[in-house]
């Protein structure tokens, strides 16, 4: 703020009643618009040198409503210099420095009205009233901070306690973890031992199964060859053990697209680039292609519709594209679940074993279950540890005054929405007409200015706006006797602003003292 930037830090003892253009009738005469601290730079008995040292002018040029200095220092009391500064004493209230462009523009900027001297009736001196109000406001704030300080101290105490507890819990957890790891190792050893045994006894059953499978495959192959041979013989009209294209062309089954003729494309499909096909090739290559068509003709086989297939693929793609993150997560979850299944119940065979074997298998299964449980316990502890560590790393204020507020959720309703702020967690918005909850940001950081870091919180990376950035929320924190939301606004699109009152922000010692010695 330009104005506050120029506010000097000094006191005035002068009683100001202005009558002359250049001199104020005070104990220290000085040109209009000059602060006491700078008055020594304007000496009526000497030529005036601009503050930047570039030009020296007769003193009569000071405040003569013509800008001679590049830095504007020769016209503290007029609007002549674009970069000039006008000082108003504002006796009874705070002194103020305003840009020269606000001198004599018809707008009252100084509470003492001195900026509008060209038309003295334009502005009344309202510094006394304003000063009174400001002091009352300062007092109110001081009282509030004082009252709130009590609660704040409680919060600090609780916060420190909470932190200490957490630290204790954390070290306990570390111990628990060590213990759990030990147990897990034991269980793993046991599991491995029993699984080795299990493997051994089950090998017999596996060998038998493998043999049976091979036998079945053998049988199946023979059946197919037989079938192919029969078909081959049937369509090999000249019985020369070679099928020529002419022979094929008359067979409906080769008319793949059912257009009434077996065209070149279809021949190519079945024969490759060959003119004809012998028995072996027919069995190995042609028959597998032809069989579904033959079966279909015989009404034994319904093809899966290609079109439908494509559709399903497309749908699946679309879902993946639109909602990629979710889809991926699901996949990952499924895989994990699958892994676990395999670990726990690797061989869910319907086969029944003899009593002895069954016992060994049961033992191994139990060992696996115990190992999994042990492993889960370790993971849970680790995750707890991580949470505690994160919380301990969080910045809860200089004295932990915000620690107990972590996770506390506050709501605020306006015409259209219900806002929810869970401190140090997230901000959400829910439409009253029932639309889904929208994330307005997750805990980011303290973002107050350097000397007041804990006055502003930032929650960032909310749900992205259409065609725009991610939503974010700024929380401005004020001293108040209870923790509550005062207002929620959206000053910039997708950038929300919450005004929050909490005793954690009350600090007796930290109130900017209103400079009461500024008064007369």
């Amino acid at each position: 703020m330009v104005i506050s930037f120029w506010i000097g830090n000094f006191h005035s003892f002068a009683l100001i009643i202005c009558t002359f253009v250049i001199y104020a009738c005070s104990e220290v005469p000085r040109p209009r618009g000059v602060s006491l601290s700078k008055s020594s730079l304007y000496s009526p008995t000497k030529d005036f040198t601009c503050f930047d040292g570039t030009v020296t002018i007769p003193f009569s040029y000071v405040n003569d409503d013509y800008c001679d200095c590049f830095d504007g220092s020769d016209e503290p009391g007029t609007s002549a210099c674009l970069n000039g500064i006008f000082h108003c004493t504002n006796a009874g209230h705070r002194p103020q420095n305003i840009p020269s462009s606000r001198v004599n523009d018809g707008v009252c900027d100084c509470c003492d009205g001195t900026d509008e001297y060209a038309e003295p009736d334009t502005c009344k001196n309202i510094c006394e009233e304003m000063g009174k109000e400001a002091r009352a406001e300062a007092q109110r704030l001081a009282d509030l901070h004082k009252a709130g300080n009590h609660f704040r101290l409680e919060l600090i105490e609780k916060g420190n306690k909470k932190r200490n507890e957490m630290a204790e819990q954390l070290s306990q957890l570390e111990k628990d973890k060590e213990e759990a790891l030990k147990i897990m190792a034991e269980k793993e050893a046991l599991k491995n031992e029993l699984e080795a045994k299990e493997n051994e006894v089950l090998q017999v059953y596996r060998d038998a199964e493998e043999k049976e499978r091979q036998r079945k495959a053998e049988e199946e192959k023979e059946a197919v060859t037989k079938e192919a041979m029969e078909y081959f013989t049937r369509i090999d009209s000249n019985q020369d053990d070679v099928l020529t294209t002419d022979e094929i062309k008359v067979i409906n089954s080769f008319d793949k697209n059912k257009d009434g003729e077996v065209d070149q494309e279809e021949l190519q499909y079945f024969l490759g680039n060959n003119e004809n096909v012998d028995k072996d090739t027919f069995i190995s290559t042609t028959w597998p292609l032809l069989k579904p068509l033959v079966m279909m003709e015989q009404g034994m086989y319904q093809p899966t519709s290609e079109v439908e297939d494509n559709d399903q693929d497309a749908n699946h793609d679309a879902v993946g594209e639109l909602d990629n993150d979710d889809a991926e997560e699901e996949n990952v979850d499924e895989e994990l679940a699958h892994d676990v299944d395999q670990d726990v119940e690797p061989e869910q065979s319907s086969q029944s074993y003899d009593e002895e074997t069954q016992k060994i298998v049961d033992e191994a299964t139990e060992a696996r279950r115990q190992w999994t449980d042990a492993e889960r316990t370790v993971r849970e502890i680790e995750s707890n540890i991580k949470n505690f560590q994160q919380n301990l790393e969080k910045d809860y204020g200089l004295q932990q005054e915000y620690a107990t507020l972590d996770g506390q959720c506050l709501e605020y309703e306006d015409k259209e929405y219900i806002y929810k702020l869970c401190l140090f967690q997230k901000v959400t918005q829910k439409s009253k007409n029932g639309a889904a909850e929208v994330g307005l940001g997750n805990w980011g950081e303290w973002a107050g200015e350097d000397n007041n870091k804990y006055s502003v919180m930032k929650y960032t990376n909310g749900i992205a706006c259409w065609n725009g950035p991610s939503r974010m929320t700024t929380v401005n924190i004020h001293c108040g006797l209870e923790t509550k939301i005062l207002s929620v606004t959206e000053p910039y699109r997708c950038e929300y602003k919450i005004e929050l009152a909490t005793p954690a922000a009350c600090d007796e010692s930290n109130i900017t003292q209103q400079p009461s010695h500024d008064e007369l």
């Binding site: 013509y66 674009l82 462009s101 606000r102 707008v107 594209e321 639109l322 725009g468 950035p469």
Partner: protein
Amino acid sequence: MKPLGLLLVVLLAIIGVYGVDRNNFKSCDQSGFCKRLRPFKPEKSQYTLNLDSVIVHGNVLSAEVTTVNTETEKKITLWRYALKLSALVDGTFRIELDEADPLYPRYRTQLALNGEPKADGLKLISNENGKLTLSNNQGQKVLITSEPLKFEFLDKNGDVAVVLNENSQLLVEPLRVRKERTDDEDPGNAENAIEVEEEGTWSENFKSHHDSKPRGNEAVSVDVTFPDADQVYGIPEHTDKFALSTTTSGEPYRMYNLDVFEYELDSRMAIYGAVPVLYAHGSKRTVGVFWHNSAETWVDVVNYADGTVVSSLVNLVTGGQKRRVDARFMSESGIVDLFVMLGNTPADVFRQYTTLTGVAPLPPKFSLGYHQSRWNYVDEADVRSVDENFDAHDIPADVIWLDIEYTDRKKYFTWDLEKFAHPAEMVANLTAKGRRLVVIIDPHIKREAGYFVHEDAMEQGLYVKDKDGNVYEGWCWPGSSSYLDFFNPAATKYYAERFRFENFPGTSKDVHIWNDMNEPSVFNGPEITMPKDCRHYKPPQDGHDGLASFWEHRHVHNEYGLWQIRATHLGMLERSDNKYRPFILTRSTFAGTQRYAAMWTGDNAAEWGFLQASTRMCLSLAAAGISFCGSDVGGFFKYPEPELMTRWYQAGAYQAFFRAHSHIETKRREPWLYEASTTALLRDAVRRRYALVDFWYTLFYEHTLDGTPVTRPLFQEYPKEEDTYTIDDEYLLGDKLLVRPVLEPGVKSVKVYLPGRDTNTLWYDVDSYQAHKANGYFTQEVNIAKIPVYQRGGSIVPRKERVRRSSTLMANDPFTFVVALDANNTASGSLYIDDGETYDYQNNKYVYSKISYEPNRMSYTLVNPAAQYSTRAWVERIVIAGIRNPPKSARLLQGDRSSALQMTLHRGNDVLVIRKPAASVATDWTIEFAY
């Protein structure tokens, strides 16, 4: 995992690819009459003037024109027409060709002209060999050949300057009765043979929209030839170059006011505005034609100098002469009504056009300041915060704008009382600092039970009707909407009354109006506008029933928005008992728009291309009478990075209408939301504007006097310099400042053309007073802070160096006069001052002075001593740049006062500054110099 490529495709689809959806808008082939007329190019025109019917009376020649079937031996008259040729003041002629006895009256555009044009005298000089020769009082001649009909307009030297129907494309499609199809009629009947109806005569379709065309075809066309022309200009609004291009290899220029979402650059597509005036310029002369027609219009241009024009055609038509441009107007309905303006200079022809359609009245002064807009400032607190931030960052601003969201759910003339509970207080906060508020009022009215405007409009029949005579319903911001029919005097009266302060609580004289969406925009209509067969009010008249009892939207489309702003203007005058000047911003434009409103170039985007387009688009509009033009500074769609934002503010500071605006979905971008270094540059640009607000105000005042553009193409002032003919990234403010804004990213220098070599013109860099001799292009080095602006040697520019929070607060501030000397050590300028907001200036309450400088004296003289305005403003400084022999002393003489002045020399001793002459600008004064 999905392949990354797919993801990218999807992302692109979601983010959206910027650009117009051409499918929503017609090409010539999709517009029935354009498709029908464009190939129409007979060997010989069928139109013939009946010499026996010629009557010359007053300033008018009347005659019968017939079409004759030229293909048969027997000359069968096909149709009869009435021709009127009028001589008008200031070197202008008007040709009107209507059917002699039309089935229904054909539409004559109503609002474009600023009243009935003033008559000149017309004399028939000779009538021989089938040729008529006429002359106006100035001796400018028109030759009319009777068969085939042809008009030749001669310049003052007797050379042919404009020819009509040289290419035989004159056409008035006669209105016909729709024949019910009867198969038993005699196919041999000759009359019937002519009436074989083409498909599309009685209805057309576009996408899912049906146009019932109850009158059938009624198109008109004329071709215009400009011998000796190098370039033609005009017919805005297009994003194409200022100098128009040959259209033979593409689409014609289209004029049909449309709300084009994400309109494209370098295009001849129609967008929001249509001003059918065309100028032809060459080193020999400048002329123009104004096609007085409000229907959909397409214009073909052939410039014989263009490489694309086949040389055989050049040889055939012009015998190798490449200096010629042909243009052809095609409109869907109306009559042939063409004004021919004979120039002879660019300034002449620009003035001739505003003589016909009116000048822009003096705007309220605040409107020349900086405007801050956004869709939307969300509530009163937001408005207050924006207002206060201007002061906190010491950036001047005159106006805050409220877009549609201020209303109670898009019901105009209401407030959203949740967000704007105290509008009067909000306005008072602004006016306390001399600022104003502008609120939006669109022509679509929400159809909602209980909304007073809607209920009144229904009850009083004030809406546009559909093809069947029922109230037309379209879709716009509020959802289902109907459209006020401003052609109905009752609708205009009703609408105008809504602006009364008691009818629009919270408004005051300091609340001004923005008319948007007035093409009109209809989201679900054909081409996002109103169906052409909608019905508008027509005053009842005996015998005018059925199709003759209303106008179709097709007849009036391009002037719909003009009717709205006229009604707004009326309402704003009436609300203050004609005391205060209204400020209105319109998006749609037509000939005559300048009489009521400023305009802007609509929904552009934060891209360098749109910044570049804004300069040439506003040049074109200014030439077409609408000088008060600007673009959304920063771009409406998308977000401008600091460099683009900076360059746009710098360019905007030197365009007439200077407003930042942005889309609701974009990131906020008020000047202080950028890095401090960028904010400083934006502040600097805005301050430069404020230093020149009085200069701009003077230019707008002078526009009311001479009707020439405020922002000018270089060729207006330097018509013989051929290099200037195609320059459209550089322009002049009045005849004094030359502006070449930096419109390109990342450049270290720009090429600036400095005109006036033959006259030894000097151009002074306004930042350094360094003089450059005019010598065509020179390279100006630029950094991010540089705005290349030059003051012409020989000019005097008034400035106010004390920039305050708003222009209003600067009213009493002193002036600095910058005197830039020409080669003869002389200079002149002017200054206009009044109260800035009332019509008192029309009662001689103003100061208008001529300022002149010669080596021995400088004088400030009121042009009209009867006009006085008691301003407290004074002269604080006079800077004389380019002085070679500085005077030793100077003395001011004003009234009884005579005082010696102090002077200092600066820069290489060629800039003399007179310190604080303290002369009042309310009365005459002189300064005498001694050497």
